[in-house]
Every structure is written in structure tokens, then in C-alpha cells.
């Protein structure tokens, strides 16, 4: 028996038959179903953390998942980082030169990438590239009864299948975000300095003078770690909770991308409000 049972049966048992107001009943059901799902997801998260000993002891399992989540996302992350940086360079220069401060281009490119765009865009790309793959893989394993087979052999599928994917994603995400930011700054440098001709010394020195290692870079890394946890949690949960049919797997994959994109944007707002607005007195 699975250590974590499905929430659906519980909801079905709890529904009161012959409700007076069907509409109200359905509304209530939708809300309760979501709450149950959230509760189940949290329990799942806790269980996964408690049983990730195998994933860390047999690190080869996690390494394989880092390969699938991280290495295979490299191309898309690097290319989009480069283009985002180049666009920032062009647009930033266009605006800054109106105020005669085109030397501040380095600050603009670096701060917007390190604080916001790096973690957020890398997170969105990661959700659609790696998150959907994780969900589809686990969902298919469930649909083809591989998960059930593991349980029959007394292998805990959460420890063996889910936890390594989770840790692989959590380790990959900050590295991908850092690569995205670095690539974007390089793109901004290419356009700003090489193409448009902003002074190279001013570009780097102004950037270094106003980007703080702790305030900006470390906070960006913290953001990307949080996004990594959120995206992979949603991905493995949706996969594990998918209806074991072709249709169920496809809708679970869609849900992964939608939910994790929304989660990234909402979390980003909260983290930004916590990190970057409290320090007015500094």
C-alpha cells in the first residue's frame, strides 16, 4: 500500500448526498477539493523530505536527474539569457541616452538580471522545460503501473523515483539562474559596448560600484533556490497525483506548467517585497 493514499476517495466519501443547492454544493466541492489537494501536497512534501535519504546516499540517482533537469536545459537557458541581455542592452540604452546617462547601462542590465529576470525567467523556462518532463515521466510511470510494481517489491517509489527528481531540480535551478544572469550580462555587454559603443570601463565599473554581493546577488540566488523548490515540488506532485491515463498525464503536465508559472510570479512578488523594500534606511 502506498504510504500516502489518494485524497480523491476521501472527498467522494465526504460529499453529502442530495444537497439542497447543487450550485453551492459544487462550489463548495471545488474549494474543498483544492484544500484537500493542498493538504495532500504538503503531506507529500514532508514525506518526500523525510525519505530523501536514499536520493542523497545513492547520489548516482540524483546525478542522473541533475543531468535531465539541468544539463538538458542548458541550451535554452543560455540562448534565452543571451537574447534577454541583448534586448536589455538595446532598450536600456535607448532610454538612458535620453537622459545623458548611457554609462549607467551596466547597472541597469546587471541589476535587472541579477535581481529579477535571472531567477524569474530561468524559473519559467525551467518549469516548462524540466518541470513538465518530470511530471510526464512520473505520470507515465504511474499510468504504466511501474509505481505500483515498485510498491509490490517493497521499494518506496517516493524515495526511489520522486525524491531524486526533486533534489536534482532543486540543485539545478540556482545554477541555471546564475548561468542565465551571467549570459544576459554578457549579452548586454555585447550590444552595449561592442555594438553601440558605450565606454567599456564605465560599463563595468559603474556596475561593480552599485551591485552589492549580499543585497543583490545573494538575494537573487535565494530567489532561484525558492523557485527551484516550488517548481520541482509542483512537478513531482502533479506527476505522482496524475490520473493514470493518457489524458490524466497530459492534463497534469499542463497543470504543472500553469501552476508553477503562477507560483513563481507570486513568490517573486513576495520575495521582492521582503528583500528589496525593507532597506530604505540603508
Amino acid at each position: 500500500m502506498a504510504p500516502i493514499s489518494n485524497w480523491r476517495t476521501s472527498v467522494a466519501e465526504r460529499r453529502a448526498p442530495g444537497a439542497a443547492s447543487r450550485l453551492l454544493g459544487r462550489l463548495g466541492e471545488a474549494v474543498t477539493a483544492r484544500l484537500w489537494r493542498l493538504g495532500f501536497a504538503s503531506r507529500f512534501f514532508g514525506y518526500m523530505l523525510l525519505h530523501s535519504g536514499t536520493a542523497l546516499r545513492r547520489f548516482q540517482l540524483t546525478l542522473r536527474e541533475i543531468y535531465f533537469a539541468g544539463v538538458l536545459s542548458l541550451i535554452i537557458i543560455l540562448v534565452s539569457g543571451l537574447f534577454v541581455g541583448m534586448v536589455l542592452g538595446l532598450q536600456g540604452y535607448e532610454t538612458l541616452q535620453r537622459y545623458g546617462s548611457s554609462e549607467a547601462l551596466g547597472i541597469l542590465v546587471a541589476l535587472s538580471l541579477v535581481r529579477e529576470l535571472g531567477p524569474v525567467v530561468a524559473g519559467l523556462l525551467f518549469a516548462s522545460r524540466a518541470g513538465s518532463a518530470i511530471t510526464a515521466e512520473i505520470g507515465l510511470m504511474k499510468a504504466t503501473e511501474q509505481i505500483a510494481a515498485m510498491e509490490m517489491m517493497a521499494v518506496d517509489p517516493i524515495a526511489r523515483v520522486v525524491a531524486p527528481r526533486f533534489w536534482g531540480g532543486v540543485i539545478s535551478m540556482p545554477l541555471l539562474a546564475a548561468l542565465f544572469s551571467a549570459m544576459g550580462i554578457f549579452g548586454g555587454y555585447l550590444v552595449g559596448v561592442q555594438l553601440i559603443g558605450v565606454d567599456e570601463g564605465a560599463f563595468w565599473s559603474q556596475m561593480q560600484a552599485s551591485v552589492d554581493v549580499r543585497e543583490d546577488i545573494l538575494n537573487g540566488v535565494i530567489k532561484s533556490v525558492v523557485f527551484g523548490v516550488a517548481v520541482t515540488w509542483i512537478a513531482v506532485f502533479e506527476g505522482y497525483d496524475a490520473q493514470p491515463t493518457a489524458e490524466g498525464v497530459s492534463s497534469a503536465t499542463t497543470r504543472t506548467v500553469v501552476t508553477s508559472s503562477l507560483a513563481i510570479l507570486a513568490l517573486d512578488f513576495m520575495l521582492t517585497a521582503l528583500m528589496f523594500t525593507g532597506g530604505n534606511a540603508r
Partner: protein, 159 residues
């Protein structure tokens, strides 16, 4: 995909990721400019510090010689007390004056030090006596307007 290939690629990926972090910290951030040199603290009181912030640079003759480490309000003299963290390589005479200046027309504010002529050097815990507050644009404008109004009034009375 066999194990060895995966290991190599993951190794490359992790190395590249850390290289990117290092690039961000050293080339983009200012970790490289963090000096581990010994420093000494000096205080200065200002009637108005304008927009001076903690970590603002302290410059003398345009060269960064330290950073502002603390800004607080003294409730007895009703003045701002700024703590300056100066690099021990740079010694200043005791009658050095401090000014709050702005880089560019509307840029960030920094502290400018102008060396005096005293033979005794500043040491840890000293206080700068000569300070000049930040220029507040509103005050300047209102002063200018009042002067202008007073001149016009004088002119009319003479007629």
C-alpha cells in the same frame, strides 16, 4: 546514456554554474573591491545629511578612501551622526573637513574629505569638527526666491 557520460556532463554543468556565480560575485558585484585592510572609525556631525546612505563612498581628492558604516540621529544636539570607516592606509590631519557632495547633478551622494594642515593625525574614535551639510535643493530655491522678493521691495521703496 551510460553513467560515465552523465557524470561528465553533470560535472561540466555544475562547474559552469559555479563559474557563473563566481563571475557574478567578482566581475559584476563588488566582492573584489572589498578590502581586508585594517580600518579606523571617525565620527562627524551634520545638520543635514540629505540622501547620504550607509555604504556610501568616502572620497578624498576623488579617490575612495573608505565607506560610511552608520548613520544615526543624535537626540541631544538634533544632528545626524555619521560614522566613517576609513582605510588605515590613509591618514588624515585632525582638522580635516567633511562635506556631503553629489556625484553628477542628481547622482548618488558621497562624503568628501578635505585634508587640513594640522600635524596631528586622526585616530580611532575622533570626531571631525568641520562639516558641511548636504545642499537641499528646496532650501536653495526658497532662499533665492526670498532674496529676489526682498530686492524688488527695496527697489520700489527707493523710488
Amino acid at each position: 546514456m551510460n553513467r560515465a557520460t552523465i557524470d561528465v556532463w553533470v560535472g561540466v554543468f555544475v562547474a559552469a554554474g559555479f563559474a557563473a556565480l563566481l563571475f557574478l560575485a567578482l566581475k559584476v558585484g563588488n566582492l573584489a573591491s572589498f578590502s581586508t585592510n585594517p580600518t579606523y572609525q571617525v565620527q562627524a556631525k551634520f545638520a543635514n545629511i540629505g540622501g547620504l546612505k550607509v555604504r556610501a563612498p568616502i572620497k578624498s581628492a576623488g579617490v575612495v578612501v573608505g565607506r560610511v558604516t552608520e548613520v544615526r540621529f543624535d537626540n541631544e544636539s538634533f544632528e545626524a551622526v555619521v560614522t566613517l570607516n576609513l582605510d588605515a592606509r590613509y591618514q588624515f590631519p585632525r582638522d580635516t573637513s567633511a562635506k556631503i557632495l553629489t556625484s553628477g547633478l542628481l547622482g548618488e551622494q558621497y562624503l568628501g574629505l578635505e585634508a587640513g594642515g594640522d600635524g596631528v593625525m586622526l585616530k580611532q574614535g575622533d570626531r571631525l569638527r568641520l562639516t558641511q551639510s548636504a545642499v537641499v535643493l528646496e532650501n536653495l530655491i526658497s532662499q533665492f526666491l526670498f532674496n529676489k522678493a526682498a530686492e524688488e521691495k527695496d527697489g520700489k521703496e527707493k523710488k
